[in-house]
Symmetry: D2
Subunit: 427 residues, 4 copies
């Protein structure tokens, strides 16, 4: 057993931390304030902030770019767009790096490591045709365009893909998309040029072979972003979450990724790393909240003492310290299992169930210690809270992931019980 | 023991429910949507919506007006502005009525029963001079103006009033106000004409005799609303929460309520009923969330069944049912104690600690059952959540109220322990 | 609304409290210690303690006897054996009386108000034939004999009565009992003379008409108490919980209560009040634990202060205060509903799910504040804990009761959803 | 990062698992039943069971003996008594081995790895004189005698060592022990020959230099075991927990370990590894409970399905799976930090606060799924529960350990706040 990061991970973590502290932090709250100001003034709160563009250029220049790119997929892309040192990171190595990024709302975007672009890039890297890569992956890796993932639908329970209503019908050499999607993260960004749309191609096929994933230019006729959604009052600019309608959108069949009927397979591969990344970043977000809570509670005085010394506050902070540490270890373990065994679906479900909830609780505690200030925009806590809360639903609700954990846990017992029953019956 | 409401309470509860169902509900979501639209279009989201004004007139015409007015203070006010039947309600009678109002964000304002106006009216009713009543209480009872309460300050821990920095200095026949306040609910409303300001008059007096409450016209020179605050992303129009600066505001000493140094006494009286009303409404809000959760979970289907039948969902709903019922009974008991014994400080702290937290949990559960929709503005859950969350801080954080409960619980043991120690020492 | 007890309830509560304080408390811990000493010395720990017999006589002489007897069933029994004043109490009136009894392990037995005898007496009162009453009810009411209830079975999930394996077959004018029962409370007592046995009479009947209840003399041939069980290490003398085997026990059919096939109906009636009584007593038990916790935490000193002032201890005590108060109100409300509407199955399930768990948590907190002493036999906390823990299983596990609450809560939504679906399909 | 055990740890874990499965498990429940039978028959339930002695001999013969002996202390002891391969294990290596042992109540004793002997042996190894080692360490390592640790006192809060009342006064070349101790684990065993007693030698010294540790032969004049204590009804034979009185016990000063005044230093060193070992074993105990829960819930049927498929049961099992995995990782991390940095006081406090509570909850859940059986002696759950519960108090209550975590977490903030205050004041 060895809990220390590799030297490469340690170096990159330090570099990212330094970059955030010296480059992003000094401007971040001002950028958010400007977005809020524009929003309330009826101006375009989605317009690209030039400071972000500059930060992206600086990050890329320092090689702190596309660090999410997984080991094993370096190829020409890592060379061209790749991370410091030119090669992909293991999940274990990426974990502390992503955690650092999680302490800032802007950092993931600045380092070209933000959802949903990372997941979309991984899909293209792994399943995309050469043509698809040239057209979409190259500019995504370069940070020139952004992307969205169009899966969730308002009318059905998204946790059960078999209920999906959107269609991607083949008609000659075209595929025709119809559907109503929402929580399509990223469509608010002016550079969002492409979405990966998921819909039913063959309703009569096996449930894992029904759906296709199709690359949709956001300006294709029939695609309309109907509105941007708030999540607990937050628009989450500059990416945002949109409601999108696709009405008879006709595209060449070559826009289907990996061919018709392979969406379920791709989705599994896509969502796994994405969930791990979310959890890594949430650890950082929870650390940020705990840091703010400790600071506030040590400085603010009531009844003659720092409030940290009142009632159960020290215990609450200690509980948060323990909860974050446990969650981080579980995330690191899942990442290590992904690295060493190639898959870790159950472990990923476990962290997806455990980490957002933990983060929500830690942030809630931090808000409480801040008093009213914690709920205001003067601190990043309300935003952090909405992020953690949303991730108890996004990419599968807690309950679905607990179900995955339970199924794996219980499989041997079920088999044993079945064997026993059979034996008894045959007597 | 008798848990049934009085016939008057039952009648008024039914009337309020009917009014909400037939008059408010049909327009409420549209009113909120219009506010949001105006806000994002850079228009004035705080402007009075004529539909609200109409609803207020209708409510007043039906006698569903000022129902918060407590028994024992009817006098000329109840006659002139009073409630159906012309007399104040006991707290026990008001409880189910206020619970109904709590199921709608607009209802309290429509029935002239919203915080902070109710608390301010009670202060004027009980402590105001004839002149103060004429000038401010009459139009408040008529719903012609609105008011604010200026107590909380950004730089200090508001749970400890002895840290308050704002001043209300006597200078000849004037009182001079200086201070920096925030979370001043109601200042966003265009009709907000007066605030009750709390500041230090004599820093050397006993800690309960230091502060004064002063009626401040919001248009007095030196008063400026610096910004409206968001609570978890919500502006809470049409009342809102503001940050207010008072800079050398000079007013006649006759604007002091009940004379200098009496703020602590008034605050105790003011906050008690206010906290009870908040809790009553939160019961209604939690019921709303549970209602939505039951409906959604019964209708939405996943994996071949209504999601209510998946995993632990039924248990979660049952737990919420029990939690709300327990909380309601605790609120009713506190109200009854207030009615029968005249005060119930410990019981009020108990409900203030227990009820917002309960509501927060129930609403969170309801959000989870709604999936992403629950976090959006399509359902009232995100707003409900922010309301419940804020009330774990407003009017004293959970921890302070638990402290009050603990002090009362432990007093006899402390005295006994002290007596034993004395006896041992004197041996 | 009126939360005050009736004067009769107040008087009886005071009398019971006084009796416990002056008569039972002075000897209770010695009686328990003697039982433990006998048990470890290989002597009979189940022998009747003459001090208990004396206390019973005194309680009966003071009319503090059979107070559980419900209003409406006074008849000759209340006259002969009845409670002070000669008439049964409502559930509301009995609630505070039973709570007092719950603070002592011996009190229920001393006042002839202990489970399972009370439930068995109610069954005989309501469903027993004159002959059955003469033979069993009279001596039970007089406290001359004790009884048991033989329902739970080791091999099946007792929460689902349809799995019951024991049989009560009619054979001519005899009924033949076979079965293996456990957790038969009361069979450890030397005066336990009769059990109410539940078994399948007609496996082909409707599931609510399959079972019969049969009065079994404990000395009938074929009845054997195989062992006494421990619950978390406790034998719970002097009543105890036994494992009982019935092997071809032949009895006259007149021993069947109310005729064959009526067990389900009787069980519903029997278990309702029994569950309410358990909850009433658990409120008292939780109060005892909180009382001990407050005392210990106020007296014991560490790091220079009473431990009540360390960390989150005051908050924990306040939380316990609130939790008990909420639970008590829920119990009182259920009792009141039973009184006014004749039944309250859902409310009873709600308290059965909520109250034992609450008590378990409060007692656990009290143990923690006592340090190691709390787990020892020097304090009643370990015993209290086992009692509360057992009641999360006895008379239906938490989960089953939550299911009852959920079913009632969701019924209208299910019907509405069904109606909508039908309407849609018929379009 | 590498989460895989060393090959040595993997081998030993497998060997211990195999030994438990094939040698201990087949007789364990019978041994416990015999103890219980003897106890209730008034026979000596503390007598050594020859089957345990045989198992110890077999374990020693296989080198599965003294595996707790830490790396770095092999010296002659590891050679003479040592573990398979002859060298001590790192904490990381011992972790999975100890976890296996934790699944059986007897295993730690069988492998000579049980508390408090392991801690006492470590003290002697590290601080003992040659003479002390010859007399006590050799036979302890050989398993020929057993030992106790006499620290906790009934009259004071043991979490604050400065309140300790027992004394170890120097009188010429003797040390005189007086004191009243309890929860002295191990004194029930007939082979318990020596205790390590802690008492005040110089009340005026610095608080860390006041106490001494003294080796006390249990048969020294003045030593009396007054009674064996139950913890939640359990005597925990064959070691047990005793109440011990020392009344003017005179011993040579050479019985003091490492010289007068060094008890605090030794205690810190002694309790750290002991706490880690407890946590390692509790992981195993929680795994045992989860294993039983999964089995029971998969086999027992109610309402037509295995109860695992009812309500929230699957979620509860998944939550337990996640909670154990998180806790194990935290324990492994603390062990690794102990190995790599030599000390990990804060990490040890974190696991001591988190792990027993986790185990208590998992076991409670498992009990609930077992119904009444779970509380009986037919399953090891009631015993497991008492063990986990006791460890929320033994070796420092949860709250004290949370305090240690909080102090470390908050230190930098406190210093920063102090610096800021100083800077402000000096302006």
């Amino acid at each position: 057993m060895d809990f220390s990061p590799s030297s490469r991970a340690a170096d990159l973590t330090a570099a990212v931390r330094e970059f955030i502290a010296t480059r992003i932090a000094p401007v971040e709250s001002q950028i958010h304030a400007d977005i809020a100001r524009r929003r309330l003034a009826g101006e375009d709160s989605w317009a690209v902030d030039p400071r972000v563009t500059e930060l992206q250029a600086a990050a890329r220049a320092e090689g702190l770019w596309n660090l999410f790119l997984p080991a094993g997929h370096e190829g020409p892309y890592a060379e061209r767009y790749g991370t410091r040192g030119g090669a992909g990171l293991t999940n274990s190595d990426y974990a502390p790096v992503a955690e650092e990024m999680g302490r800032s709302f802007l950092a993931p975007l600045v380092f070209n490591c933000n959802a949903p672009d990372t997941g979309n890039m991984e899909v293209l890297l792994k399943y995309g045709s050469a043509e698809q890569k040239d057209r979409w992956l190259d500019p995504l890796l370069a940070g020139e365009i952004r992307s969205a993932f169009l899966m969730t639908e308002p009318e059905v329970a998204s946790s059960d893909a078999s209920t999906m209503a959107a269609t991607a019908r083949i008609s000659g050499d075209e595929v025709v998309l119809d559907g109503h999607k929402w929580w399509s993260t990223g469509v608010g960004h002016p550079d969002c040029r492409v979405g990966i749309f998921m819909g039913v191609t063959d309703p009569d096929a096996h449930r894992y072979l029904r759906h296709s994933m199709v690359l949709v230019p956001m300006d294709a006729p029939g695609v309309s972003v109907e509105r941007m959604l708030t999540a607990q009052g937050m628009f989450d600019e500059p990416l945002g979450h949109g409601e999108v309608r696709l009405d008879g959108v006709r595209l060449p069949v070559s826009n289907i990724i990996a061919g018709p009927g392979r969406a379920a397979e791709i989705a599994q591969g896509r969502l796994g790393p994405g969930r791990v990344h979310h959890c890594m970043r949430l650890i950082g977000l929870a650390e940020l909240a705990l840091d703010l809570a400790c600071r506030r509670a040590s400085e603010r005085v009531a009844f003659g003492k720092p409030i940290v010394n009142l009632g159960g506050n020290r215990e609450r902070l200690a509980e948060a310290r323990i909860a974050i540490d446990q969650a981080r270890l579980l995330v690191h373990h899942a990442a290590w299992k992904l690295d060493t065994e190639g898959q870790a679906a159950v472990e990923v479900s476990a962290i997806k169930a455990a980490v957002p909830r933990m983060a929500q609780q830690v942030i809630d505690m931090a808000m409480q210690l801040h008093g009213g200030a914690g709920m205001s925009d003067d601190f990043p806590l309300a935003g952090a809270y909405a992020t953690a809360r949303a991730l108890r639903l996004a990419d599968g609700p807690d309950e679905v992931h607990l179900g995955v954990v339970a199924r794996a846990l219980l499989a041997p017992y079920r088999d044993a019980a079945a064997a026993r029953t059979t034996a008894e019956e045959s007597r």
